[in-house]
């Protein structure tokens, strides 16, 4: 409401009205709004205001849910490949080094016993070990909503008209742009297509702090990691549509992810990939 008054004063053209799918009639929810800008020039020009869906961009700031998501993203891909060999797996050691008794030495049966130097390990690290687990869908969905809400609440979420085929690919231009708009140290651009062309593509190759991501790569860690998240209008539509579709899906939100159900899919994932340098695993 406040934003729309501002908009009227600044004479912005686009209207805020957007059809928000299954929006609750809750009077205690205010529809979040964001400015619509573009990336054509250094200065920020406000093209209009966009309504955002309150179920995605205005949820309770549950930092604990966010924490669970961040921890999961850090942990689930860890694999420990270290394998310390036991007495049996070390080479040699089959012979009794000295007689059992009457030598005054310890009673030992093998030079690879754990008490020996260069012996096997008794309670060593026995990899490969994985920390893989799946968070429930509900937690992952809520985590994304919380992350987007936090970014929007702290004014670090910006919506632009278009990211494709921009004219200017000069890194200086992009640095000035982000500096004049106060976008912080790192910027993440999210577009709905996974191919990006034009100025942004050229600039992001040279600037380490500027990154692009397709909508399907959206994750809590990246959203929080970057100082500013910039969504294109198409990406915004897609994100809302995907998240709401899952929030309102007919299937339960506590689906079980069992390895046996996905085994065939995972094992066949790389079937199409043929690396000319590496022999395939048969």
């Amino acid at each position: 409401m406040f934003l729309s008054q501002l908009m009227r004063q600044s004479g912005a053209s686009a209207s805020a009205a957007r059809n928000l799918w299954r929006k609750s009639e809750n009077p205690f929810i205010s529809t979040p709004q964001a400015w619509l800008t573009d990336l054509e020039q250094v200065e920020e020009k406000k093209r209009g205001i966009i309504d955002l869906h309150p179920d995605v961009f205005r949820v309770a700031p549950r930092l604990d849910i966010l924490h669970r998501n961040l921890t999961w993203q850090k942990v689930y891909r860890n694999v420990q490949m270290t394998k310390m060999l036991t007495k049996a797996e070390m080479p040699g050691g089959g012979r009794k080094p000295w007689p059992q008794k009457k030598t005054g030495r310890a009673h030992v049966g093998s030079i690879r016993q754990p008490e020996f130097i260069h012996g096997g390990f008794a309670n060593g690290v026995r990899g490969p070990r994985t920390w893989f687990y799946m968070l429930p869908d509900a937690i992952r969905l809520q985590g994304l909503c919380v992350a987007l809400t936090l970014k929007h609440a702290q004014d670090d979420l910006h919506i632009v008209e278009n990211m494709q085929d921009l004219q200017n690919g000069d890194p200086k231009f992009w640095q000035d742009l982000c500096e004049s708009r106060n976008w912080g140290y790192s910027v993440l651009m999210i577009d709905d297509s996974d191919v990006i062309s034009g100025g942004l593509a050229e600039a992001q190759e040279q600037l380490a702090w500027l990154n692009c991501m397709p909508v399907y790569g959206l994750n809590c860690y990246s959203i929080i990691k970057y100082d500013t998240v910039v969504l294109s209008k198409n990406a915004l539509e897609k994100i809302e549509q995907r998240l709401l579709q899952h929030l309102h899906r007919a299937k339960p939100l506590n689906l079980k992810y069992r390895y046996q159900d996905y085994k065939e899919k995972i094992l066949n994932e790389s079937r199409a990939e043929e690396n000319p340098n590496m022999p395939p695993i048969v």
Binding site: M1, F2, P27, F28, I29, S30, R58, V59, A60, P61, L63, D64, L66, H67, R68, L70, T149, L150, A153, Q154, D155, D156, G184, Y221, I224, K225, D227, A250, K251, P252
Partner: protein
């Protein structure tokens, strides 16, 4: 806006708005959400004696609950000779009460004007049937029978007399029918079945133990004579003391005894991408799928 501010959520978000940028290290779990392991004192540490102590300890005989070790209660008071002896062969039916069915219709999950069968119920994603653990379909129970208003055409695998009466009182039609494991697998997830490119199966005849149930007009079995069922319907109305509606409310034809899906012939393959249905031209296949005499099946 002022109204929204009274909400705890909005106040929390205001704090967030005024706070400095929230970074990865600021995300914390709630206080007390996770407790670290308690340090066990040496005297109380029970670690270390597990295997041998358990193995060598004197243990009561299997099934012992209370009383004399050597005369457990199930031998003192023998009720059943083999308790749960048929657990690996008995069929399980998922209970579906009439009140649940009414709620599903009320909330738009099920269209009461169309015939309701396993596929219709399973496409709501509210029920899980696993034929691999001998679940054979739905059991319509009478909870909510007093006020069941919809004239539906329903096909379940088992139904109580009260449930049958409630459906027929409302002007509906109910049949109990048997799905063999293969047909059931197709019926519970038709999309998966079609995408695999499987042939729409025939329903096989029920096993010997169930043939009696499904040929009984009292149970509205699908193998019973339609005239018998009609007589039984009137009979049940007289016994239970309700009035049947004057005209037929359900006019759609019934499935044939070997049909799994309405309107889709057995033996055909469906392409969901092209929205086309193909049937075999081979004479042997055609004959097999059109003879309508269900195969013999043992289960």
């Amino acid at each position: 806006m002022s109204q929204a501010l009274r909400s705890a959520k909005e106040r929390a978000l205001q704090i967030v708005e005024q706070a400095s940028k929230i970074r990865i290290q600021d995300a914390r779990d709630n206080l007390g959400a996770r407790t670290s392991g308690r340090q066990v004192r040496k005297a109380n540490n029970q670690m270390g004696h597990t295997q041998g102590a358990l193995e060598r300890a004197a243990k009561p005989p299997l099934g012992w609950i209370w009383g004399d070790f050597f005369r457990p209660w199930q031998r003192m008071f023998p009720g059943e000779k083999h308790f749960n002896a048929d657990i690996n062969v008995r069929r399980e039916y998922i209970p579906l009460s009439l009140i649940e069915l009414t709620r599903l219709i009320d909330l738009g999950w099920i269209d009461p004007s169309k015939p309701i069968d396993i596929s219709t119920l399973c496409r709501t994603q509210k029920f899980q049937i696993n034929p691999n653990i001998r679940q054979y379909g739905f059991d319509l129970t009478e909870e909510g029978a007093d006020s069941f208003p919809y004239a539906i055409d329903i096909e379940v695998q088992y139904a109580t007399q009260s449930a049958i009466a409630a459906v027929e009182k409302a002007g509906g039609r109910i049949r109990t029918s048997y799905y063999d494991v293969n047909a059931l697998e197709a019926a519970i997830d038709p999309k998966k079945w079609f995408e695999k490119g499987n042939v729409v199966p025939q329903r096989k005849a029920p096993p010997k133990t169930l043939i009696g149930y499904y040929m009984d007009a009292k149970n509205r079995g699908y193998l019973a004579d339609e005239s018998d069922i009609e007589n039984n319907r009137i009979n049940l109305a007289n016994i239970r003391g309700y009035k049947l509606p004057d005209h037929e409310m359900v006019t759609e034809p019934l499935k044939t005894v070997d049909q799994v899906f309405h309107g889709i012939p057995a033996g055909s393959v469906i392409s969901l991408a092209d929205k086309k249905l193909y049937s075999p031209t081979n004479e042997i296949h055609r004959e097999y799928y059109s003879k309508q005499v269900a195969d013999k099946q043992y289960s």
